[in-house]
Symmetry: C2
């Protein structure tokens, strides 16, 4: 019981920090009338979207909850846990976004004073998000423990929480992702390409929708995403650990007792929260900081948090299991995950930053046009799968060597334990991006825009690292969930072999799912941005004086189009993710479902990394050209790079990150269904 | 023995038809002085490339042969079989290309008479290729039987033949693919995009290289590719069948005896040859045929061949095993493969032809620029994985239901048995393409060019169907090889389960391989076309009077650049394909290698289908716009579609088809290595 109280306290401390940071942000000056006006429009649009999204999600949650309740092998406690998970996830996204939409104007106003002031406000706003995610996550899980740890169905109830969190996350990520990229692409194509006006120009009717998108997609969507990564990795480890104590199929006991199985991941995560808090406070620079110093400050924060997490994990292991045998072995597994996570983040940076050769090559290929640029960026994305796959494989082998399959699961917790600060550096980006847009629209002097651009570009670097890290963690977590599933459903090892055509079929179908999912989300962005483009073109055509700057566009119409389209189109990709494992499990049986998950995880991991890094390198190839390379802004090379960026945007910000959730959600659906499927052989 | 003699006779009949068709083609008029001159330049370039390629391959084959010979568990008979397979594969490609480079001028000359004359010459040239592939394939395997069927190591010797064929195929496909797409893209970018001159304009220095590329890539490369598909599917079935007779791991006998295991696939293939020959003779149209009639004629040929193959297969099964139990069951498995193959071809056509909605949507998205066009084409490619995966899964489940894992293998033979005519309709395309180019360069009247364009466009339709079919067959064949491997290496079912971290690691690494392979081949095309672009630009800059048409470009220089670059860059992707399964098998052990193959097959299948169909739909979206849609030629929509085509070209003609070979080659390397790996547990 004591370790859970420690976790709970760490969670509360995390939330307290979030409160402190929020108070700081809200106490800042909101800037001029014009700034406040724009910020209000963004706030209105973002809250309207979230309101509609959450209403749809509420219906979905109620329907699924009722279904779960009426399945005899599951029951109403699973329902309750599912609803609780969904509410926690929605809450994390809501609180985070609420501070972000208030921080953008304040960052813009602070940037008028200095670069460092701007960083402080935006990073603290990001910290609110990061701390809310980890705080609510660990508190939610602690409550679950207090409420149900004596319930004989505990093992069925816990995954329900993850299922709820993941369900909300997939819709939030996909819906937000469609919104943000459709608005962004639509605004860019008509504004930058067709009309030749700058980005974020107030005459562009889609510009407010673009800002709203940053909040609902990159803040609220990502918050729900990271929340589910975080709680799923812990849940996977707990369930696997509890099953492993009595494992019949494994034929041996990996974890000494149920309490350890439960307490260990919670304590590692709690240590990560404290490490993240310390890391946040290490993000400090002098008053007249340069870009390099800012980046170093952020990296100092994340690296310190990683090292501290290693130390705290060792203490947690020592406290719970001693340093002999099991204890020290578990520590090595955690360390393997932690190190792999950091290195995957670095490799992402290598493949996407224009400081290194791969992205420089991509930008060089812009000289022969958009076609060659796109081929070379895509090739770069494909090649970038090498380090993450090797690192995950090494982490798996090391973790398994030391602590069997439980090691693989806890390595995932190790990787995710610094999420508090990782999310803070991630969520700070869109706040800075919004602030830049507000500055552009407020006719502030160009040096202010330069400052917010610098903050934005810093955010891009940290976002790239964060993305790699999120994908790596998703891979390990999904694997851990899959392992839990195979244990929970009681797959007989002697049956689980490749010669079974059901397993082969499952793998092929599973590998297909990420492709179908990406096709749907890419098309959704395409369709929505098509509507936006037509709307912006219409306004330029019909509103007299718009292009001359004497009339104002109707921002609200673009916002309404994005909202409606994104919400309508988030439903199908979300539903197939939830329904497909159910169908495969019932029709082809639990063995095929395990194969299905394997196929989906392997293919999903590859596609997610490819999309994220191809998108990142096109984006930065464009930025490199904008610094003056190959003719700079306005050159043919630059035009080619804008096309590349348009292609990469939905890949890296809609489809790619949603895949992370998809592979975990499918795995957790399987885990939740395990009691239903146990002993069942499928209809075919 | 009798069935093999029947197969041998069918093979000889196939070659006889090839000879007849070749005589017909060679007897045609070669056209004007100018036509002959251009054709001679193409011939020279193509033969020079093939000469250099084969010299490199000879070195490779000798080195691998020696290594195989010195491995104690394999020995010199395996070496001999390997060399024999390599030689047969090279021969099929060489003979086919030799007739293609002679048929282009004759097609151009015949097209001056009528559309139908043009079709006849080019289709008969394609038939030479198709019949050589199947004839040489089945004769080679028959010789192998006569030479070794009493040898106790027979089961080790047979896969050597496939290994030889696949090794040649991967280099020929990759090298040819790099050549053809680099020349094509390079010529298009400088010619069409920068200089605004038509395709195949004689002032373009890369135009001859482009024609050469069609021959070395789309004829010789594809010939080697289909040869290996064909023999590998038969070999997989034979080895699996022979192992299955005595299978310990399966615990039951699937195939009555070794003779049946060997004879059955040979007879089914032999029936397919006769069916293809009949199909070829059904490709007839009246003298004044329209496009629609031509297409119907080709489809009548392929469909009839499929139906006849089904009938002949039934006879083969009846002849060998009767119609009770095993016999009729095997027939259902063959039929499942055959039908799945036809349907996969049709689904490819649906996703890539502008007669249907998906490609029309892609071309519609060109209105908002190259970026949205590329996203929508890629999404279409991803979505197009749905039917092939479902069809392969259904074929697997049906085949397994009727004839266990042997059924899966023989379903692959069923799918590939109509290869003779499929390859004929495929190989006819590049001949027609070349003829069109020659017409353009010879200042013949525009109506002749219209005729060759019609032939070319017909070729594109049949190529799309053929590509889908090739990918489906590759998937099934690779699975059959994998199953043979697991049996040959004696994987204990109880060990082969997903909870093994080695298997998981293998799957992840395997899924990564197609991505790395595609990255390398895409980059190779990019680099080579970059050199070509610079060379063509240089010639326009330095050769006075070139753009005015008073001076001639130095075609030879572009040809030399393509040759050198393609040969240099085909080596690395080929080598990693061969070396990676060896490394995984030795380091992580035979279980991990099985996982590795599963991952590679699943991910490779998805990526191959995506690349082929995305590329096909971009190509046809461009063609649709060229018919006048969205502003027609020269419009912004058209420019966007040219960019899409540039992106799709290396995907659909270099990386995509090479993946088919890659997944089979890795599987056959594993199968050849099985005696070495049996009982081994890996270094880690």
């Amino acid at each position: 019981m004591v370790p859970i109280i420690i976790s709970l306290i760490c969670g509360v401390v995390g939330l307290a920090l979030a409160g402190l940071m929020a108070r700081y942000v809200l106490s800042r000056d909101q800037g001029s009338e014009r700034i406040r006006e724009i910020s209000a429009a963004i706030k209105e649009g973002a809250l309207a979207f979230l309101g509609r999204e959450y209403r749809i999600l509420a219906v979905f949650v109620v329907v699924v909850a009722i279904i779960l309740g009426f399945i005899p092998m599951l029951g109403w406690w699973v329902t309750l846990s599912f609803v609780f998970g969904a509410v926690c996830s929605g809450l994390a996204g809501f609180v985070g976004m609420n501070i972000a939409i208030r921080a953008n104007s304040r960052t813009a106003a602070s940037a008028q004073k200095s670069l460092n002031e701007g960083l402080r406000v935006s990073f603290r706003a990001g910290t609110v998000m990061g701390m809310c995610v980890v705080g609510i996550g660990i508190i939610g899980l602690s409550i679950l423990y207090f409420a149900f740890h004596n319930n004989p169905d505990f093992l069925k109830i816990v995954p329900g929480f993850g299922f709820g969190a993941s369900s909300v996350a997939i819709f939030a990520r996909v819906g937000g992702g469609i919104y943000t990229k459709a608005a962004d692409t639509g605004a860019d194509i008509v504004g930058k390409v067709e009309k030749g006006i700058p980005e974020d120009d107030p005459r562009n009717a889609a510009v407010i929708a673009d800002f709203v998108g940053d909040n609902v997609g990159d803040v609220a969507g990502m918050g729900a995403d990271l929340f589910e990564s975080y709680v799923d990795s812990i849940i996977a480890t707990m369930t696997l650990g509890m099953i492993a104590v009595f494992s019949v199929t494994l034929g041996k006991s990996i974890v000494p007792d149920e309490a350890t199985a439960w307490f260990l991941p919670m304590l590692v995560a709690a240590g990560g929260i404290i490490a993240s808090i310390i890391g946040v406070f290490l993000v400090r620079v002098g008053e007249k900081a340069e870009m390099g110093a800012l980046l170093n400050a952020l990296r100092r924060g994340t690296f310190s948090a990683s090292i501290l997490t290693a130390i705290f994990s060792f203490l947690a292991v020592y406290f719970l299991c001693g340093t002999q045998g099991f204890g020290i072995n578990i520590f090595w597994a955690i360390l393997a995950g932690l190190i792999a996570g950091v290195l995957i983040g670095e490799s992402t940076n290598y493949f996407t930053s224009y400081a290194y050769k791969p992205t420089l090559n991509v930008s060089e290929s812009s000289q022969t046009g958009a076609g060659t640029l796109i081929t070379s960026g895509f090739a770069n994305g494909l090649m970038s799968t090498l380090p993450p796959v090797i690192l995950v494989v090494v982490a798996i082998l090391v973790a398994y060597h030391f602590a069997d399959i439980y090691g693989i699961a806890i390595a995932g917790v190790g990787m995710l334990s610094t999420l508090g600060i990782q999310d803070a550096t991630d969520a700070y980006g869109p706040v800075a991006d919004n602030a830049g847009g507000i500055v552009e629209m407020s006719d502030l002097p160009p040096e202010i825009r330069e400052r917010t651009d610098a903050l934005d570009s810093l955010g891009n670097t940290t976002a790239a690292t964060g993305k790699g890290f999120a994908i790596g963690a998703a891979g390990l977590t999904a694997l851990a969930l899959l392992l839990s599933y195979t244990q929970a459903v009681g797959i007989d090892i002697a049956n689980f072999n490749l010669l079974s055509p059901h397993v082969i079929s499952g793998i092929l179908l599973g590998a297909m799912m990420p492709a179908i999912f990406c096709a749907m989300t890419l098309n959704a962005v395409g369709k929505t941005s098509f509507s936006i483009i037509n709307e912006v073109r219409r306004q330029f055509r019909e509103i007299k004086g718009l292009i001359e700057g004497t009339a104002k566009p109707e921002y609200g119409k673009s916002v309404a189009i994005c909202t409606t389209a994104a919400i309508r189109q988030m439903i199908a990709p979300g539903l197939i993710t939830i329904v497909s494992p159910v169908v495969v499990g019932l029709v082809l049986g639990p063995l095929a479902l395990a194969g299905f998950l394997v196929g989906a995880i392997a293919a999903g991991f590859i596609i997610a990394v490819t999309f994220a890094n191809a998108g990142g390198s096109w984006d930065n190839a464009k930025k490199w050209i904008e610094t003056g390379a190959f003719g700079g802004k306005g050159s043919d090379a630059h035009k080619a790079s804008v096309v590349g960026d348009t292609v990469g945007d939905p890949m890296k910000d809609t489809s790619g990150p949603s895949l992370n959730i998809m592979i975990k959600l499918m795995s957790i659906v399987a885990l939740v269904l395990a009691p239903v499927l146990a002993g069942f052989t499928g209809l075919l």
